[in-house]
Structures are given as structure tokens and as C-alpha cells.
Symmetry: C2
Amino acid sequence: MLIKGGLVYADDKFVRRDIGVTNGIISSLGKEVSGEDVFDARNFILIPGFVNTHTHLAMTLFRGAGDDVPLHKWLEERIWPLEANLTTKDCYWGNMLGIVEMIRTGTTCFNDMYFHMDSAVQAIKESGMRACITQGILDLGNKSKANAEMRESIRIQRICKEEPNITFMMGPHAPYTCSKEFLLEIKRYAQEHALRIHIHLAETQKEVQDIKKERGMTPVEYLESLSFLDENVVLAHCVHLTNSDISIMAKCGVSVAHCPNSNLKLSSGIAPINDMMSAGINVSLGTDGASSNNSLNMQQEMKSMALIHKLNDPTHIDAKTAFSIATKHGGQALGLNIGELSPGYAADILFINPLHHSMIPSNNIISNIVYSMNTEAISHVMINGKFVMLDRKIINLNEEKIYKKASEHAQKLVEKLE
Amino acid sequence: MLIKGGLVYADDKFVRRDIGVTNGIISSLGKEVSGEDVFDARNFILIPGFVNTHTHLAMTLFRGAGDDVPLHKWLEERIWPLEANLTTKDCYWGNMLGIVEMIRTGTTCFNDMYFHMDSAVQAIKESGMRACITQGILDLGNKSKANAEMRESIRIQRICKEEPNITFMMGPHAPYTCSKEFLLEIKRYAQEHALRIHIHLAETQKEVQDIKKERGMTPVEYLESLSFLDENVVLAHCVHLTNSDISIMAKCGVSVAHCPNSNLKLSSGIAPINDMMSAGINVSLGTDGASSNNSLNMQQEMKSMALIHKLNDPTHIDAKTAFSIATKHGGQALGLNIGELSPGYAADILFINPLHHSMIPSNNIISNIVYSMNTEAISHVMINGKFVMLDRKIINLNEEKIYKKASEHAQKLVEKLE
């Protein structure tokens, strides 16, 4: 396939280029590339799709089900009781709803941690999405629970093996819900099977205090003491860090999934990403679940991030940096060749209408994308060289049915609780 | 006209109601209201339109023209030189672009301060928008400039007299750009003509320091000492306040236009709106100009506001409060019967599609509107009882022509500078 004449964001600037795509991969990028199966992109701005590096996708079912309350009340009185009744079928429709939202807002790959993950695999397959998925596992110090969780994780790993668009990762929930032995077992398993790890870390002050009390170390120091941290690990949140934590993280080569809106909504705080990036840490961007955001809109997340981190200096997180965090840093965090429009990278491409009000005038296109673009301006979305949305219609899925089914399943769960 | 069977947000909850509209005003709200000219709203959620209480609309032309730089550099090297070349024609297309963006994102009234305001009056008339407008005036201590500015303001006041959808207000720019004598003259004129006043105040730390140095008072104390502050005054920003300032403001009955995204983007800070509201001050919401935001999207502004002010407490600015700030508090700030769906209020109504992914599931509709709604879910917009957007097509304006013209005028201005 040849995508002809678009205004392409490559090497941090916009240039008019043709993009050759072979087997879902960008095979060439240049002027006057020749090829068959031509798609006329002259009326579009082409950018890589967003990479959302921390989600709990099926939680779209709980959107709005527990807002404006403190974290412990949110978890204990709303989320955990709701989750206790979740079935694989519920999660399937929650995942589908989330995938529709992500495609329509320009996300072409997400990094998920949840349970009933067969439903996620199924939804991803049907939609043509790209994802990294982990079964979120925890043992709370209970050996037989640890064994059962590990078995379930391995079952999902097997299901993922056949799927070209899915990368399986290990998903220990957090250092305060997984025992030391379980964390070590998971790390060993991940190394043996060349799997990356996705874990929550240092999200709240309470977590840091509790771990310090129990272990005499910060959460980062604790994981470092287990030789858990390396370039195959994605740490979600990282709100509360010491300077020494940041040095350790940089030395180990971990990536961070920064979730600014969720961290504000649950009063967790603001993660020190300027300091992390100055230390050389790869910072990527995530929305977290829809119950603590409450959307999965990466453009909005990117803008929020850029604005929040300007609080003390307007030059911090400029538009190009914000865009890189939301795209190629995500690819790096997940170990995938995504998030850039370059030969060898996946053809995961957003086709943006430059004649949408939010993109006008074009004084600075990348600035428009970060600070003003409404995702309504995204006309088409391509993943792996195939269109998954054309003219804002999702190709492979029945949107109306998904909205109806997701609504029904959400209502059933919420009513059961009330 | 009778708007039949919609799910209406009235008295802070959603109820199925009919809305009778007479001469642009809601004349009745109830079950089984009878009337002619029926519009079937059974498939819609109906909410009041957003009220944007601080804008510089024509600055859409400068969107992206000066991002990620410190405030003084932004003003001195970009905005002021760009503004020096602005013509009424440029502003007309900038205003048109802004009006299209506002309608498409659900704003039905805005409070503007800028210059070449004939162009704003013209654009508002053609679009069917509602607005309060002020000619932004300043004298920098120069008496002949003061006279000229006052004359221009009075000229715009006359133009506005014939316009039912436009309310003219006085717009002294700020206490650091207007002399004491000019402020007193403006206040006297406003009182004589029963006009409200729109002014910037306490936006930056530098402003507070400068005024303290010059006057020995905070900006709020200074305006209070001139008997400038009362219930007819809207203060934009109010980022840097003492407790005593807040008491003075509450006592005087002023309203505040809070602009969270602009204040973050220019590193001005976070306005203490929880404290202001606890003291009883009417806090409303504004986007500021598109050059410091860079959008005019009130849904996004409302979400940013709610999240930022949860930094220390997740119960702060809950969804209902955030929505009130973005709607009825705006009406109160502008002294207009807008921002509520109640008899006697203007029929300024958003028709929201409940089957948009960002509104699903409907666990909590007001929470969805504040935290997850994509403005793409707004199907129709009514102002003053007349549709200005139907099925996301703007009724009275040629969108394509506006995008083309605004782009051309912006490009001409930016090129002149480079």
C-alpha cells in the first residue's frame, strides 16, 4: 500500500511525504515513492497513533460509578464490590466500549492490566487494535492464591501466543498487594520467557509510608533490592519519589507510565516527570481506567500533562516533548516499534483533517495537536497497515450494539450493588 | 415552540420534561406540556449551554503562534507585535472562527474583551450567538489616550444598543495598565449607564508585587479603595489573593472568571477557588484567549478545573459544582438569566446524544458530562430558542469559508512578523 502526499510528522517536523506500507510495517518514507494500492492522503496531516501505556480497559463499565470520593472509599465501597461481580462477558463489552473510545480518540496501542483477560484478547482480535496485555495478579501473601494467579496468567499468555497484534506481559499489581516471594517468582518467570513487566508503583503517599514502615525502604528501593527493576519494566504512576529513587530508576533503565488526570482525580499528586526526564528516564503517558479519569482520550491527557507541568515554568513539557511522550516514548516503554512514522515502524497512523476548527489556523501544527485538537478532527485511523476507522466510522465493529450491550452490563452490575 | 420529552437537567438532577419556549425564553417546564411547533427531544439529554466568562475571541488567529515561552516573552515578542497589525477585517474572521468553535463545543454565551469590537458585534449578529462584549481599554497614564479609548468604547456601546443578544460592558484592561483616574472615570460611566465591568485582576505574582510596591496595597485592596468593586464587576483570573482579599471580594459581591488552563499554560498559578467559594464568592469559568489555552472548549476547561482543584482533596469541586460553575455561575456573573433550564431563563440549550461512547454507560450523567463527554456528543445547540447547530452542522454560517478566511488572515499576520 502507498499512502500518497500527506503532511507527515517525521523527525519532529512536518514534511510532505509518501509512505509505503508492507505487511503492516512502514517500508519506505520519501518523496515520489512509487507503489500500488494508492491512498490519497494529500488532504490529511499524518501522525503516529497515541500509545496509552496504562489502562484497565474493562473499567469503562464503571465510568461515573464512584466519583468525587476519597481513594479508599472509592476502592472499598465502589470499585472492589463492583469488580467482585464482574464476569468475562461483562468485561468483553467493557473492553469493546473502551476500544471504540480509543480508536475514535486516536489511540492505536494500549497497555492493559485487568482480569478476565480472555475477553480483552477477544475484543482486540475483533477490532484490529494493538495492545500489550497483562493479567493483573496479586497474592496478598497467600501461597495458594499466588499459584492460582500464576496459572491464570500463564493461561492468558498461551491465548496471546497466536495473536500478532497482542504482546503478553506479566502484571503483578503492586508491591503492597504482592508478597516478596511472589514478586521474585514473577520476575524469574518473566526473565525465562522474555516477557516485560507492568506494575503500579509509588502511586500514593500512603503506599510509600506503608512500604517504608514494613521494609525500611521506599517502594523503588524495595524493588531494586529484589533486582526487579530493569529496562523491561513499566512502572505506572510514580507520583511520590525521592531524588535517590529517580537515580535508581534511571540507572536501571525502567520506563514510567505517567497518568496525570487519574493522579489528580484521586488526589494522589503530581508525578515529577521533569526531574525523571532530566535524569534520562523514559516517561510515557497513560489514562488509567475510565473510572478514575473518566475518559481514555490521550489528546486530552497529553494537554493536561503539558499544562500541569508548566505550573512553575512555561517552557516545561513543550508541545514536541508532550507529543513524543504520548507516542514514541510509549513505544519504547512497551518494547515495540510503534509511535513514530519511520521505516521499520508499524503503520499505526492517524489521518487528521486540517480543516477542523481545532486545527485552524496552522501557525504551529504540533502545537495545535497537543493544545487544541479535538479528536473529532481525526478522520481515519490505521493500525498495522489496516484502516480501523474511516470517516469516523469504526470499520470492524458494530458501534451501536457495543453501546447497548455495554450499557446493559454496566447497569446490571451497578444495580446489583445498590 | 415545544421541546418534547427530553431528559432535562433541572434543579441539579435529570428528569424527563417538556420545555415550552416563547420568544427565546423558557416559558414552561413540566410533564405533558402542550403546545405547537413540537421538537421531539426524547433521544436527547438537555442541559444549559456553557457560559464562558473570559475570552479574547479574535485571538483564535494567534492559536499556536507563541507557545511554551515565558509570559513576558509571549506578550512582548509575539502577541503585542501581532496585535499591532490587526485590522477589523482580521478580527472579524478570528471572531467567526472562535464562534464556530464555541458553538460546536457547547458554549452559548461568552464574555469578551478585545478591540476592533465592531467585528465581534457583526460576527455575533450573523451567527445567532449570545455575548457580553467590552472594548478592552487602557491609558498607561496618558490622558489623551484615555479620552480616545473612552470614545471608542462609547462608539461600540452605541453599536450594541440595537442587538438583543449582545450586552455591552466596560472593559478596563487591568489596574497596571489603567491609571487611577481612568479607572475612576470608567467606574463613574458604568454606574451612570448601568453597565457591568470586566477587568483582569491578580493574574500574576509580578502584578501583585508591582501594585504593592506602587500603592502599598494588593490589587484587590487597591480597587476596593477606589470603590470600584461591587456586584456588577467580573474579575478575570484572581490567581494570587490573600485571605483578606477574599474577604473583601466576598463583601463587595464581585464575580470571578476562573481560567485554569490559561493560568497553567502561562505559569501564572492556580487560583484558590475552593477558598473563594467557601467565602461565598460567585466563581465562574473562562477559557481566556485561544493563544493561551489553546482551545475555547468549556467541557475541557470544566474537567481541568475539577481535576486540578482535587489535588489535595478528591471531594473538592464535585461534578455538580463544576457544572454549575460552567453554566449558572456564569449567568450570575454576567447578570443574565442564562445557564439554567428554568422558566424565565433563556432557551440556550445543548442537545446531547446519550449514545455517544463518551456518555456510556449512564451510571452518572452529570459526571459523564463533566469528566468524560467529548463535545462531539453535542448534536444540536439552541440559543435564544433558535437552533444554531443541528446534527453538528452550524446553521447560520459557512464553516468552510470561515476556516479558509481565518487561515488566510492568520497567515498574513504571522508572515508580516517573520
